[in-house]
């Protein structure tokens, strides 16, 4: 345990030193406060918009940003140390590969978690102060929890990439492709399938397919509780499926654990 804490502590402080925590928090705070106040600007009004509109627009932006940020933060975590020679050195220490993996995960995951909490929590607090409606805190709690899990999921995916790649630049390319796939290609493919299959694709099949993408699970968590009038496209169909927010969060959690377990297996078999 001491080893995990030591590594986590170092990684967390790296995140502070590189201004990662500061910049991510700032991005999230500006994004959420901005959307909260100016989300309705398109419809001609400025001011606090409805809660469901705010969450819907926050979710659709966060679904692009959070995976990208998590991948950027962690893609070189192992391959960078491998290139520098410190990975080999660390493995000669009384430290198991899993301890190193978990230590890094807790440290960098801590940065993501804290940034999400502070960034999005700021606007939740702002809204709550103005409206004094407890539903705001509740809705935002789900949003922040799911956003954190989404970030942790892509941190774990980034570790897989970092352990597979032999060079830092290759890892960067792979991270970008991974982001592109989960954030854009997957949904486009799903939409294409929906259109081409004419009514052949049932609603439950669609929902099941969406479980294969952590970004979609995140969207579902946040849209499931909202008026479906604020949501359109393929998602609106899926929302009506009978999955509770709790179940969706559990699926998202398994999207954190599974890649982490995969990363552990890859690390175990890695040649040094």
């Amino acid at each position: 345990m001491r080893e995990i804490i030591t590594v986590a502590n170092k990684e967390f402080h790296d995140g502070l030193r590189n201004r990662w925590l500061l910049s991510i928090t700032l991005i999230f705070a500006v994004l959420s406060v901005g959307l909260t106040y100016f989300g309705a600007a398109a419809s001609g009004t400025v001011g606090v918009t409805s809660l469901s509109t705010t969450i819907a627009s926050l979710a659709s932006l966060a679904v692009f940003l959070i995976p990208l940020i998590a991948l950027l933060l962690s893609y070189d975590s192992f391959v960078g140390e491998q290139e520098g020679g410190t990975l080999l050195l660390l493995l000669t220490y009384p430290l198991s590969k899993n301890q190193l993996l978990l230590g890094k995960f807790f440290g960098q995951g801590g940065i993501i978690t804290l940034a999400t909490l502070l960034g999005f929590g700021a606007s939740a607090l702002l809204l709550y102060i103005q409206h004094d409606n407890f539903a705001i805190i509740e809705t935002f709690a789900y949003f922040i929890l799911s956003a954190t899990l989404l970030g942790l999921s892509f941190t774990a995916i980034a570790y897989m990439i970092s352990l597979v790649a032999s060079e830092k630049s290759k890892a960067a390319g792979m991270a970008l492709l991974t982001w592109f796939f989960f954030a854009l290609v997957f949904d486009l493919a799903l939409l294409a399938l929906l259109v081409s299959a004419d009514s052949g694709l049932s609603q439950s099949t669609l929902t099941q397919l969406m479980m294969l993408n952590p970004a979609d699970v995140f969207r579902l968590v946040n849209l499931a509780g909202l008026d479906s009038t604020d949501v359109n496209g393929a998602l609106a169909v899926a929302i009506n499926a009978n999955l509770t927010q709790g179940q969706l969060l559990l699926i998202l959690l398994s999207w954190v654990i599974a890649p982490l377990a995969m990363a552990s297996v890859i690390f175990k078999n890695k040649k040094l």
Binding site: R2, E3, T6, V7, K10, D14, R17, N18, E83, G84, G85, T86, L88, L89, L90, L91, T92, Y93, P94, L95, S96, K271, L272
Partner: protein
Amino acid sequence: MNSPIVTLENVSKHYKNLPALSSINLQLAQGEVLGLFGHNGAGKTTMMKLILGVISADAGNVTVMGMKPDNKSAWHMRAKMGYLPENVMFYEQLTGLEVLSYFSRLKGQSTAHAKALLEQVGIAHAMDRQVKTYSKGMRQRLGLAQAFIGEPKLLLLDEPTVGLDPSATAEFYQSVDRLKTQGTSVVLCSHVLPGVEQHIDRAMIISGGKTLALGTIAELRGQANLPTKIKPLGLNGTLANDTLLRPYLIGADSLQVPEQEKLMVLRHLLADDSLRDISVESANLEQVYQYYLQQKAHSNPEKMNNSSATENNKAGA
């Protein structure tokens, strides 16, 4: 007597189809300093990794302090091993003290211990500066401090003196001598040969993953049977007229004498009253090393042709 710290029995390791080490046998006693010499790719680093337990042998047994180093149950003894990798880039954005504290904590040591080590390797004045501002020599010292964490019983040093200036090199060898008296066993991996001789107990020369020679420098010198160079001064060219010495003569006033006839020749020279001074130079480690590599090349004619081909190329260029 104490059991050996490191034992390698018939150890072989290959990467895919490339043999990295074949049938290596070695015993390292407590407090012994072994020099491990060989070209790049000879298998030095592979051997260190096997001893460290980072990789496992394909055949044979590796035992370190009575345990198998690649076994999970042996991890606690890793705190008693120090390793300096060949090219290591420490976390550039951290300060020297932060880097060393991190590694110290992983071995269960305090920040105070890290500070003392930085003091010992002579970079305490720069401990609050980021590593990216360090010179090559300072980075190497930081690496050494890292290897010294926790007063290890076994030290594996890959090219420890690269980038060190002569005085730092001397200081480094002093630390090795001091650790040796404390009972630390050291494996020094190097292809920088001068200066290392006085500090090692035994030398091991490997090439292509095979042991070419293993023994004390005197033993290796004896086996190689390399001649000693003797330079008498003050004899004013009478050497050429001396029937006993003439066969050994190379140049005007120096002699090349086989090891077993060295004393005989010396006695003969000392008997001459006109002798003013005399210098005796045994074959150094570098020559011994070259000798064993050439031996290998002779036994492997294909390699020979290759090397002579490259020489021709060089001459052409």
